[in-house]
């Protein structure tokens, strides 16, 4: 089974649209513009759809296939420490933790951003602070995510970015 189909079309489109929308909103679009709000809502809708897909989607897209697990993460660290290379078909335990982190952070950004536009919280400094803090956190997490993908691609000799484009993971001879 050299090539295994792991990421369905929804997961791939979700991933790359999120990349484009988040990068656009965090780096390019003027934060006081209407467009910033709409792109933000689009991100929240995307994350919402991903949450639903996590229960009804294909095998490796379901949360049940990558439950948050500290012991699993420790096991993966042990593999790194001993130079063992066991290929995971779906998300790895550490990768799963990052996904939950990113989904939660994006929702927090969306929620705090929406509340800033309501009359109830208009001009609340702490809310803007929270919004910016969450965005910084997301940016750090994205940088870490990319670094981890490069590291794991080299360690496991799987082209992980290509798998997120084509949907197929090269699991090598087994």
């Amino acid at each position: 089974m050299p090539y295994t189909y792991v990421w369905d079309l929804f997961v791939r489109v979700f991933h790359w649209s999120l990349v484009v929308l988040f990068a656009a909103n965090a780096l390019v679009i003027d934060e006081d513009s209407k467009l910033h709000h709409w792109v933000g809502y689009a991100v929240v809708v995307l994350v919402g759809a991903r949450l639903i897909w996590g229960f009804v989607g294909t095998r490796y897209a379901r949360f049940a296939s990558f439950p948050p697990s500290i012991s699993g993460a420790t096991e993966q660290l042990t593999e790194i420490a001993t130079g063992r290379a066991h290929k995971h078909v779906g998300h790895t335990p550490l990768g799963a933790l990052m996904i939950y982190n990113l989904l939660a952070t994006l929702l927090l950004i969306g929620l705090s951003g929406y509340l800033m536009t309501t009359t109830m919280f208009w001009g609340a400094d702490w809310l803007e602070g929270l919004h910016k803090l969450a965005v910084s956190w997301a940016e750090i997490a994205v940088a870490l995510h990319i670094a981890a993908v490069v590291y794991e691609s080299r360690r496991l000799k799987i082209n992980l970015p290509r798998a997120m484009v084509t949907g197929y993971k090269d699991m090598g001879p087994e």
Partner: protein, 162 residues
């Protein structure tokens, strides 16, 4: 499990990111705010040493995990002492983490094929690791490696090793 150290690393990474971004912000505006470059370089040095400490801790945790993996669940004092003796040899030969893992499996009597399966690597990779182990330890075979270890065990009373 070194969960405490892992949590400590996570907290220190957050602190390091915070200090580093603070330094970057200071560097942009230090002239108009009347900050001295000496002050900034002290800040930078402190942050750099924090980063060094984090790297040291990461290595420490990975080493702990590796040792735990090679010990697996054998909790008896004799097994721990034996493992310490073996570990001391591996350190003395300056084996890499991967080579230590392969050497542990080899000492335990696994075949090349079995080691490859256990480590999720190709047999050729395992053979390359074995060659490195023989070269670094100045031995030529599995039996040579084992006799070196057993030699130390017989010269040293077990209580010393523990």
């Amino acid at each position: 499990m070194p969960y405490g150290v892992m949590a400590l690393i996570a907290v220190q990474v957050l602190c390091a990111i915070f200090f580093a971004s603070d330094i970057v912000a200071d560097l942009r505006t230090y002239a108009e705010r009347g900050l001295s470059l000496t002050y900034l370089s002290f800040e930078a040095a402190a942050t750099a040493s924090l980063c060094a400490a984090i790297l040291f801790e990461v290595r420490y945790v990975l080493d702990l995990l590796r040792r735990k993996a090679s010990l697996e669940r054998s909790a008896s004092i004799a097994a721990m002492a034996l493992s310490d003796v073996i570990e001391a040899h591996f350190d003395q030969w300056s084996l890499t983490p991967s080579e230590k893992d392969v050497a542990t499996f080899m000492v335990k009597g696994f075949s090349i094929g079995e080691i490859a399966t256990l480590r999720g690597s190709a047999e050729g990779t395992v053979k390359a690791h074995l060659n490195a182990i023989y070269r670094k330890s100045g031995t030529h075979s599995r039996a040579d490696v084992l006799s070196l270890i057993i030699d130390t065990l017989m010269n040293e009373p077990a209580s010393n090793a523990a």
